[in-house]
Amino acid sequence: MTAALEVHGLRKRFGGVRAVDDVGFTLAIGEMLALIGPNGAGKSTCFNMLTGQVRPDTGAIRLFGRDIAGLPPRRIWRLGVGRTFQVTATFGSMTVAENVQVALMSHHRRLRWPWPRADRLDAGPARDLLALVGMADQAERGCGLLAYGDLKRLELAIALANDPRVLLMDEPTAGMAPRERAALMDLTARIVAERGLSVLFTEHDMDVVFGHADRVLVLDRGRLVAEGTPDEVRADARVRAVYLGDRPPSEAGP
């Protein structure tokens, strides 16, 4: 078996709109796969079906062969899928280290205990994860005080807490300064290589997509219109039409 994720015939309608219409693709083990497309193309819906936030109408999502379509997010997480959020979702009342510790405690199924003081549980592994993303020196800060780029790195550390095999990243660099974007993606690539992860990410920043994706999926109006290496996708006429509007209007003159 070489696929981390296999998606077949994924469909979702909202009212009369086919947000995602018969999408299928494969995420190979160790691969960084980008999912792009214009606004309204169905990226978010597609992504949220993978994470369990949205239930697909039909279709299969196989994680290392096991169908996870329709499972709630927490079950999917338990099966070894980490995720980051587009707008960072962290626990504002906790320190940076505690944010990671909660994820670790959850992974170790310790969160039901009402007794020992938890701020020392899993502290060591939390430090290690923070060191991995270059945040060790900020471990004791309140995460409400972090710069945006650092929050994104914290998100990554949290996402790694369950020792995932697959990482789903929703616009990992949105809202970051250009230099930070490259740094975060380099970091991600390094971790992916070290840990043998497979990553699927949505992204707006084409520098990030073409700099870091092994392969690219292009969605338009809910359908997959192109798939291939960055160079193939860049040269694809359909993709050019989606992004540049090469189609001449039938009546409107210049």
Partner: protein, 234 residues
Amino acid sequence: MTLEVRGLSAWRGRARILHDLSFSVAAGEAVALLGRNGAGKTSTLGALMGLIPETRGDARFNGVPILGLPSHRIARLGVGYVPEDRRIFTDLTVNENLAVGRRPPRPGVPVWTIERLVTLFPSLAGLRDRRGGQMSGGEQQMLTIARTLMGNPSLVLLDDPSEGLAPRVVDHMIQALRSMKTEGVGLLLSDQSLTVARHVCDRAIVIEKGRLVHDGSVAALDADPALHGAFLAL
């Protein structure tokens, strides 16, 4: 000068989404706001419409500072806004949707009536008692523009008006926008591709990661593959 933007910055939470944008739109001019997905087009229009609370810089409409004003005050100055997701009142009929947009006539600005709008958007003609929620995407898009025109604006901000529309509908849209321009309504429209901009706009400004990177004629932009490659295409 209708709209004059100087050093506009904006934040969403802690993420800075616009960096010192400066540009202007003259009276009756049609300007395209281009840039990749996520470049900050929607945020620019939102900031000008008073929908993003955290902004800095200066924006004047006919000399009146508009940053920090509530959006209804900006609308009453003559700025129309057509949001990206249309935001039709789905429980209301077409007539009622139009009624919500109705404002008194403004001197020196084209006055729109439902009858004139139906001429501009023939697809709305037979639907006046239809509920917004029961219309197709294309019809909704026409309705949201018509609703904005009911306010008799002198400048309309349109956020990606061709998004998700079938090619035939995009053609209708282009015709309507050109008619609006002929009437003397100023347009500032964002566009993910060049489809609409090419046929409607005189000038194009391009933003990338919240910064202004190009301001010039659409023709020049269209003729410059380097610009395409850098800021629009993949």
